[in-house]
C-alpha cells in the first residue's frame, strides 16, 4: 500500500482503534509510524479509527469523557459518520494512509490550541477548537431521528450543542449564519412534525379543493366541476357556453370542502401533527426556532489559543450585580471615601478577597473545584454586600468598599465572612484580608497611574 503520509520522522501519531480489530487493519497500521492505543487510555490521542462494527455514538461519548474530542476521527467503517474528519471504505486503497494524513494535519493544527482546561470552559473551548482546527463552520444537519430535527455533527459527544453554541454566539465568540427554521410542537417542543392543511372546523386533513366559477349573465356561481362538459364550460343553470374569462365568467376563488365533516372554508388552516406526542399545533401558534451555522470570530481564536473563555471565572459571576464597578470607577469611589474620611471623619473600610486560584488551590481542588469555589465566593458576596457597597476585581483579587463602616464594624463583617467562607470552602482556605490605610493609598496611587 503506497503511502502519502506526511508524518515527521520525530513524531508518531497516537491512534486508538474502535470496533472489532481485524488482522488486515493491524497489518496496515504496522506500515505507518503510529502508536496504537486503546480508547480510554490516559495520555494524548491524535486519532480514533472507526472500524466496521464500531458504535460511533459510544465512541464519541467516550472521547468526550476522556477529553479527546479534538482527536481526528477516521471512519473506515463504511458508515460515513458525519462527525468523521475522514471517511473511506476499509478496503479502499490508500484509505488508511490518507486518513492518517488528515490526522497529522489536524494534529499540527491542534498545536495552536492550548490544552483544554478541566473546568466549565471545556465544552465551549472544545466546540471552538473543533471549528478552528477543522477550518469548518459548525453547521447543523437534518437528523430525523432527533426530536429537534437538527444536530451539529462536529460536536458529537458534547451535550446540548445548540445551547452551548448560542452561549458562545452571545459572547461574540461565534457568528451566526441562518441555516433553517423549525417549528415546535406546542405540547412537547419537538420539531418532528407533519405539516398539513386541515379543516378549520374539525381539524381533519381530508380536504378537497374546488375552484368556483361565476357566470355573470345568470348569476350562477358553483364549483367548476358543475360547469365542465368535456373540455367546455357550460352553465348548469342557463345552459350557455362560457367562452371568455372576464367577460362571460370569472373564478372568484377556491373553496375547501372537508370530506370528514362536510364543512367548507375559503382557505384551510395550516396545522402541525407531532410525530412524537401526536398533539396538533396550529400553524399560527407554533413557535419558530431558527437554526444557525456558526463561524468562529477572532475572539474565539484568541480564547482557544489562551485556553480560557473570556468573562469566565469570578468576574462573569459578579458583573451583573448592582455594586459591580470597573477598576477605574472603584478607584474613584474609593478616593472619594478616603477624602470624606480625611475631612469629615466619615468611616469606610476595604476588604480584599483573594479570588485568584493559587497553584496550591488548583492542585488541591482541580480546575473544576476552583470554578466551584468561585461560584461559592460569588454567592457569598451576593449575600453580604449592601446596596451602598461596591466591589471590583483587580489583579485577580476582589475588593469590597464598605462606605459608612467603621473598622469595628468591618471586623465584625470580616469575621462573619471568614466563618462563612470556612463553612463553604473549608478551614484551610484563607482568602480574606482587611486593607489598612497605607495599602489603600498605594492601591489608589496605582490605579490612578
Amino acid at each position: 500500500m503506497a503511502s502519502t503520509l506526511a508524518v515527521p520522522a520525530t513524531r508518531a501519531l497516537r491512534v486508538a482503534l474502535a470496533g472489532p480489530m481485524t488482522s488486515g487493519i493491524g497489518e496496515a497500521l504496522r506500515r505507518h509510524p503510529v502508536s496504537v492505543t486503546e480508547l480510554g487510555t490516559a495520555g494524548p490521542l491524535d486519532a480514533v479509527v472507526l472500524l466496521p462494527g464500531a458504535d460511533p455514538a459510544g465512541v464519541y461519548a467516550r472521547m468526550a469523557q476522556d477529553g479527546h474530542l479534538l482527536a481526528a476521527v477516521l471512519d473506515l467503517s463504511g458508515a460515513r459518520s458525519p462527525r468523521a474528519d475522514f471517511s473511506a471504505e476499509i478496503n479502499a486503497p490508500d484509505g488508511l494512509a490518507r486518513g492518517l494524513d488528515t490526522a497529522m494535519l489536524l494534529a499540527e493544527a491542534r498545536a495552536a490550541v492550548a490544552p483544554l482546561p478541566d473546568n466549565e470552559d471545556r465544552p465551549g473551548l472544545t466546540a471552538l477548537a473543533l471549528s478552528i482546527t477543522r477550518k469548518r463552520d459548525l453547521e447543523p444537519r437534518l437528523d430525523a431521528s432527533l426530536p429537534c430535527m437538527f444536530d451539529y455533527p462536529l460536536l458529537a459527544g458534547i451535550a446540548g450543542p445548540r445551547a452551548l453554541l448560542e452561549q458562545l454566539a452571545d459572547a461574540s465568540l461565534l457568528k451566526r449564519h441562518f441555516h433553517e427554521r423549525a417549528y415546535l410542537c406546542g405540547s412537547c417542543q419537538s420539531s418532528r412534525m407533519l405539516a398539513r392543511d386541515v379543516c378549520v372546523a374539525c381539524g381533519g386533513a381530508h380536504l378537497e379543493q374546488q375552484t368556483l366559477i361565476h357566470h355573470y349573465r345568470c348569476g350562477e356561481q358553483a364549483p367548476k366541476s358543475h360547469f365542465l362538459r368535456g373540455d367546455q364550460l357550460v352553465c348548469p343553470k342557463c345552459d350557455r357556453v362560457l367562452r371568455h374569462f372576464g367577460v362571460d365568467y370569472d373564478a372568484p376563488g377556491p373553496v375547501y370542502v372537508c370530506r370528514s365533516c362536510g364543512k367548507t372554508a375559503p382557505e384551510p388552516e395550516a396545522r402541525f401533527l407531532c410525530a412524537d406526542c401526536h398533539a396538533s399545533t396550529r400553524g399560527i401558534d407554533a413557535e419558530a426556532l431558527d437554526w444557525y451555522s456558526y463561524s468562529p470570530t477572532e475572539a474565539a481564536h484568541a480564547a482557544v489559543a489562551e485556553g480560557r473563555l473570556p468573562h469566565a471565572g469570578l468576574e462573569c459571576l459578579l458583573d451583573s450585580l448592582p455594586g459591580w464597578r470597573t477598576p477605574r470607577d472603584f478607584a474613584l469611589t474609593l478616593d472619594l471615601s478616603r477624602r470624606l474620611h480625611a475631612r469629615y471623619s466619615r468611616p469606610y473600610a476595604v476588604l480584599r478577597i483573594d479570588a485568584q486560584a493559587s497553584a496550591e488551590a488548583m492542585e488541591r481542588y482541580g480546575r473544576a473545584g476552583v470554578a466551584q469555589m468561585h461560584q461559592m465566593l460569588a454567592d457569598l458576596v451576593r449575600q453580604t454586600v449592601r446596596e451602598t457597597d461596591c466591589f471590583a476585581q483587580i489583579d485577580g483579587k476582589l475588593l469590597l468598599l464598605l462606605p459608612e463602616t467603621s473598622r469595628e464594624h468591618c471586623e465584625v463583617l470580616f469575621e462573619r465572612l471568614r466563618t462563612r467562607a470556612a463553612e463553604m470552602l473549608g478551614p484551610h482556605v484563607q482568602l480574606l484580608a482587611q486593607l489598612d490605610e497605607e495599602q489603600i493609598d498605594a492601591l489608589i496611587a496605582r490605579l490612578a497611574r
Binding site: V200, A201, L212, H214, Y216, R217, C218, G219, E220, Q221, A222, P223, H226, K237, C238, G246, V247, D248, D250, P252, G253, V255, V257, G262, K263, T264, A265, P266, E267, E269
Partner: protein, 420 residues
C-alpha cells in the same frame, strides 16, 4: 289652512266627495280598507301553523359585502334562536372591510358552519346561488347580514314549510332596528308596519304575495332548485318569488316571525335604495314577467296576474295618478288646490292613524307608541316624498332603463346580464 280644509270637507255633498277626491277613493281608500280588513280576518281565521320540531335541520344563507361590523351580531342572533339545528353559511362577496377575517374567526369558534370568500364581488344573486350549492338541508333561510331576529323568529318562519309541503317560500315580518337614528328611520318604521306587517297580510290572504324579502325569508330548496335559483337583480327577491309562484308553489307571510334590520338614515341613502326598489318593479313586473298577462301560456295563473296588476295599480298607477291629480286640482281649483290637497292629506292622516292602530293592536311591538307623534309628518313623507321618488324611478326606468346601470351589482355583471 286647517279650518279651511275642514270647512271645505263639510261643504261637500256625497257626490262632491267622490268627484273632488277621486284619487283617494281609487287608490288610497282601498289600500287602507283592504289591509286592515285582512288583518282582522287573519286574526280571526288565519291558519296557525304548529310549532316545528326544533331538530328540523335548517340552513341559513348570509351573503354580505363589507358587513364586517354586522356579521357577528347577526350570527349571534341566530345562535340565540330557540330553533337550534341551524347550519349557518356565510358568503363574503368580495368585501374589502375585513368581513372575511371576521367570518374566518367565527368559523374557528364554531359559530359558522360553511364559509366562502369570493375574491371579486359577484353580487348577491351569485352569492346565494353559491351558498345554495353547498346548503345541506331542504329548508333554508335567506337573511341580510345586518338583520337580527327575535328568538323564536326562525321557528315561526319555517313552520309553514314544515307543515305544508305545498309551501315554497315564507316571508317574515320586518321592523326597523335603528328607529331612533333619524327622522327618516322613524318614518320608515311606520312605513314597515304599514307595508309589511299589515300590507302583506292582505296580499297573503288573497294569495297575491309577490315578494319574500331578501332580508328575512325562508325557502324550500327543492322549489328554488326547480325554478333555477336566483337571477341577476336588482329585485332578485321579488323575481325568485314570482318564479316560485309560477311553478305552483305557495308563498306565505308569517307576521309573527319578526326580524329587525337597519334602514337608511340619510336622505341620499334612502333615496337611492327606494329608486332601486321601484325600478325593479318596472323591470320585473312590466318587462320580465309580462308573460303573466298572457292567458294562453300553459302555467297561466289568474292569481299571478291579479297580484301583479295589484302591485302595478298601487304603485305605478297610483304614483302617476297622483301627479295627474295634482295637475287636475291646480287646473280646476287654482290657488284653492292647496286647500284641496290639504284636505286630502287630512283624510289620509285619519286612515293612517286607523291603520297604525290596527297594527298596534294586532302586531304591536314594544315602544311602537313612541312613533305616534310622527304620524302626521310620516303621512306627508309617504304622500309626497316617496311618491316623488317613485315617479322619478319609474320614468328613469321606463325611458332610460336605469336599473341596468345600478351599482348594486358589479359592472362585469351589468354588461353580461339579460335585458328585458
Amino acid at each position: 289652512m286647517l279650518l279651511e280644509a275642514f270647512d271645505f270637507l263639510r261643504a261637500l255633498d256625497f257626490a262632491g266627495v267622490f268627484t273632488v277626491f277621486w284619487f283617494f277613493w281609487l287608490f288610497e281608500m282601498p289600500r287602507y280598507c283592504l289591509s286592515t280588513f285582512a288583518v282582522a280576518v287573519q286574526a280571526a281565521f288565519g291558519r296557525k301553523y304548529p310549532r316545528p320540531d326544533p331538530e328540523v335541520p335548517v340552513s341559513v344563507l348570509l351573503i354580505g359585502f363589507n358587513e364586517a361590523d354586522g356579521l357577528r351580531r347577526s350570527v349571534m342572533s341566530l345562535r340565540e334562536q330557540s330553533h337550534r339545528n341551524l347550519e349557518i353559511i356565510v358568503v363574503d362577496d368580495g368585501s374589502t372591510d375585513g368581513m372575511g377575517d371576521v367570518a374566518a374567526a367565527m368559523m374557528r369558534e364554531g359559530l359558522i358552519d360553511q364559509f366562502f370568500r369570493c375574491g371579486t364581488r359577484g353580487g348577491k344573486c351569485a352569492g346565494l346561488n353559491l351558498a345554495l350549492h353547498y346548503c345541506k338541508h331542504d329548508i333554508f333561510l335567506v337573511l341580510d347580514v345586518d338583520t337580527s331576529f327575535d328568538r323564536d323568529a326562525v321557528s315561526k318562519l319555517i313552520a309553514p314549510l314544515v307543515a305544508d309541503p305545498a309551501v315554497g317560500a315564507v316571508s317574515g315580518n320586518l321592523q326597523v332596528r335603528n328607529v331612533d337614528e333619524s327622522l327618516l328611520t322613524r318614518f320608515q318604521s311606520i312605513e314597515y308596519y304599514s307595508n309589511i306587517t299589515v300590507g302583506r297580510q292582505f296580499t297573503d290572504m288573497m294569495n297575491w304575495l309577490m315578494i319574500v324579502s331578501g332580508a328575512f325569508g325562508a325557502f324550500r330548496k327543492q322549489a328554488v332548485d326547480q325554478v333555477g335559483r336566483w337571477d341577476v337583480g336588482p329585485g332578485d327577491d321579488s323575481n325568485i318569488t314570482v318564479k316560485l309562484r309560477r311553478a305552483g308553489w305557495r308563498i306565505v307571510f308569517v307576521p309573527e316571525a319578526w326580524a329587525m334590520t337597519n334602514v337608511p338614515a340619510t336622505h341620499a341613502a334612502l333615496w337611492r335604495q327606494r329608486k332601486r326598489w321601484s325600478r325593479s318593479l318596472i323591470r320585473h313586473r312590466l318587462r320580465k314577467w309580462k308573460v303573466v298577462f298572457n292567458p294562453f301560456v300553459d302555467n297561466f295563473s289568474f292569481d299571478d296576474m291579479l297580484a301583479i296588476l295589484m302591485q302595478l295599480w298601487f304603485n305605478v298607477a297610483l304614483t302617476f295618478s297622483f301627479a295627474i291629480y295634482i295637475v287636475w286640482a291646480l287646473v280646476n281649483y287654482g290657488r284653492f288646490a292647496v286647500v284641496v290637497m290639504f284636505a286630502l292629506y287630512l283624510m289620509n292622516l285619519f286612515f293612517k292613524c286607523w291603520e297604525f292602530l290596527v297594527a298596534w293592536i294586532f302586531h304591536g311591538r314594544p315602544g311602537m307608541w313612541r312613533l305616534l307623534p310622527y304620524l302626521p309628518a310620516q303621512t306627508f313623507y309617504v304622500g309626497y316624498y316617496m311618491r316623488l321618488n317613485r315617479l322619478i324611478a319609474y320614468i328613469s326606468e321606463l325611458v332610460l332603463r336605469r336599473s341596468y346601470q345600478d351599482d348594486y351589482y358589479p359592472m362585469k355583471v351589468h354588461n353580461a346580464q339579460d335585458q328585458f
